[in-house]
Structure formats: C-alpha cells, structure tokens
Assembly symmetry: C2
Homo-oligomer: 230 residues x 2
C-alpha cells in the first residue's frame, strides 16, 4: 500500500524539526516546505536542508516569500531584535512577531495539498512558549483547518484536511524530550533570531533564551554553539 504524504512546515528550528520527526513516526512520507523571507533568517534554511537530508524527506520545496517588504516585524529587518529579556512569558505580542506569518505559511502548504492530494499538514507551533503570538494558539489551528476544508477541492469533494500541531501543548523541555525519543539530533537545528555572520547563535534573543531554558528543563546539553556564551 502506498504511504500517505504529509506536508511539513520546516524552518530548521527546534519545534518544526520535532514536528517533522513526529510526522515520520506517524508513518507519513514527508513533503517538507521551507521559506526564505527576510535578511535575518537565511541561516535557518541551511538548517532546514540538513534536517531534511537527515530524515531523508521524499520532497523539499523552498519558496521565497515577499514578507520583508510588508514590514512590521523585527524579524524581517524592521527594528531591533530584543536581547536579554527577563520576562519571556510576559503579556503582549513581541516585536519579533511576523504579521500573519503562519497563515501565509499554511496557505502555501494548502496549495501543495491541492496539487499533490496530500491531506495532512504538520506545523511546529506551541502556545506554551509563544503565548504572545496569535497564530501559535489552538484556536488558530482549528480555524485554519475549518478554512482549509472550505477553501479546497479536497474539502469540497468530500475529503478532509487535517492540521497537526504535535508540540502545541508542550513546553520547550517537553518538545526536546519528545524529539530526542524520536532520534532528533538538535545540533542540526537553528533557533537564533539574530545570528552572527558565520551563523552562530547569539544566545541572548528571546528564541535563544527559550531554547536554552528548554534544554535546561530537559536536563540535557544544547549541542549548538553560542557566540556570546562561550
């Protein structure tokens, strides 16, 4: 019997890499989907390629999106990436939030489903660690799944598209433990919002701080190098 294929949003970060490992465990062939969309994150793409190669994904599509020209986020070069924040779990939406990013990413995944016939999409969002991002919440994923089944040939013709968010309810430590149990080598991943020119993580942005806290929670050492913590 032919295996079913899942479209997996793969940034090359810790969460999306873990989501990919879960999709593999769930028995899917993998169509990974990565994006380039701004000047700060191209080093992520190298990580995505390493992860895709490591897991031997069946297909990897990389799309260049015009998000930077929309502005509105420190992650696409509009404003400074904050460093050394103490209250990582505070209220409010961080300046690193990219407007409508996950909606846009999932829309392209949906287009791939329409073209290939895949009916499963994996996305590595968690509302535990990213409570300030509207598009990392369970109600967002539910609303997108409802949309997906009204927007597509698959949905209209009686199929069902499922959006899987396997790390939604996990904190970073739990995500890391899950990934390790599935054979993830986190040295392949990249997390930093503001890496140095050689790609080394800064160790001070929200994303690095959450990652480092996650490895501490999991009780294992983070295998990636940090420039400012050496």
């Amino acid at each position: 019997m032919e295996k079913k294929t899942a479209v997996v949003l793969l940034s090359g970060g810790l969460d999306s890499t873990t989501a990919l490992a879960v999709a593999r465990r769930d028995g899917f062939d993998i169509h990974a989907l990565s994006f380039t969309y701004g000047q700060l994150h191209t080093v992520e793409l190298e990580a995505a390629r390493r992860v895709a190669a490591h897991f031997g994904v069946e297909q990897h599509t990389i799309l260049d999106l015009p998000l930077a020209s929309l502005g509105g986020s420190a992650l696409t070069g509009h404003g400074e990436v904050p460093k050394d924040r103490e209250n990582l779990d505070g209220e409010g939406i961080p300046v690193t939030y990219v407007p409508a990013r996950n909606t846009i990413f999932l829309s392209y995944a949906l287009a791939i489903c329409e073209v290939t016939g895949a009916t499963d999409i994996y996305i590595g969002v968690s509302h535990v660690d990213y409570s300030g991002y509207p598009d990392c919440r369970p109600e967002f994923i539910e609303a997108f799944e409802a949309l997906a089944n009204r927007a597509t040939r698959i949905g209209v013709e009686g199929g069902h598209i499922t959006i899987h968010a396997p790390v939604m309810e996990l904190d970073k430590g739990e995500t890391i433990r899950l990934g390790l149990s599935l054979g993830v080598d986190y040295s392949m991943t990249h997390t930093c919002y503001d890496p140095h020119e050689d790609g080394t993580a800064c160790g001070r942005c929200d994303s690095c701080l959450l990652r480092l806290r996650g490895f501490a929670q999991a009780g294992v050492e983070d295998p990636v190098a940090y420039r400012e913590r050496q």
Copy 2:
C-alpha cells in the same frame, strides 16, 4: 476625522475593479494589493496599475508570489487554457483554478491589516459565475473571516476584521451594471486568461466568454478589444 483604510485585492480584472469601486463608495481610503505569480498574467498588472491610478488609491502594494513553481494550474503555465467551452456553468473545478490562490491572497491582505491597522478587506469573488472554484464561495469567505480574527493581533486585542465580497451574489451582468453606476471605466480592466503578446484579449477562454456574456446581460458594449473577434 481620519478615514478608515480598506485593503482591496486588485487583479485588474472586472470583478476586483468593481470591488474597489464599492470600497470607495463605502467611504474607505484604499490600500490596493496586487500580485504577480506566473507568466500568463503580467498584462493584468498593467490593468491593475491603470485602475489604481484612475481611482487615485492611497497606496498600491505589488508582491511577487512563487505560485507557478507549485504547479497544478493552467493559469500558471501547467497545461492549456481551454477555449470555446460551451458549458461555462458546468459542474467541476476548471483547470484554470489556481490551488489555494484566494487563501494565499487574503493571507497577505491580512498581513497588511496587521501592519497598518486596517480592519477591512475587499475581494471581488462571485460564486454565481465561478461556482466551480472552492475559494469563490460564501462559506470560504466566512471561514476566512473567522480565521482572520483568530490569527491576528487585531482579533486578539478585541478588534474585528471584516472580509467584504461585494459581488459575491451578482452575476457578471449585475457586476458590470453596479460598476458602471459607480463610475468604473471597464476599458481599463483586463480579463483574458490567455492574452496575445500585445495584451489583447483572446475572446475565447472561459474568462473572456464570461465577460462577453456579462456585457451582453448588462446590455452594454464591452470597451476592450478582442483579437479573434475583430
């Protein structure tokens, strides 16, 4: 009092131009949003620019999207655009359907809302003329509006994003009459799926045939030239 701004999806075709005229009538400043995404449609962009200039839109964003590389549609160069079809209102999804296109387009409109604070989006879809396109139906628009209010800072912080589809219930003839009543000059618009090199409409694709039928229904002459009907 400062006027509110609406984001208007503007392809330069008949429906989106009419939707823009309605947004203007409704009292909005206009942030037009157009896309390039394949080899067949660049002539549309010139039409979009003409329409934007004619209506003096306050802002016009043009984004280049990687839809052609996804495949799956005759509109992005994958297969032939059908000609001289007799059953324009038949069952099924035409080969010119671009997978998840309106979901992707609306996602970018949503990003602009997040960046600028706009809470109104206009889209010129009609389920009367395009019954075969899943993403031209009222239930799609309702599902996207529900998503929009869960996906965004605006929605989370108590605002409300509204998706307006002012020609949804109109056939092409009614759309044209509405546009004419609002001062639309349809000679500026471009509709053809398969224009000649100089931009002249073919007069034979589904889109041309629907347009010509619409002008016949409205009892007025179509001001654009058709290569194969001269």
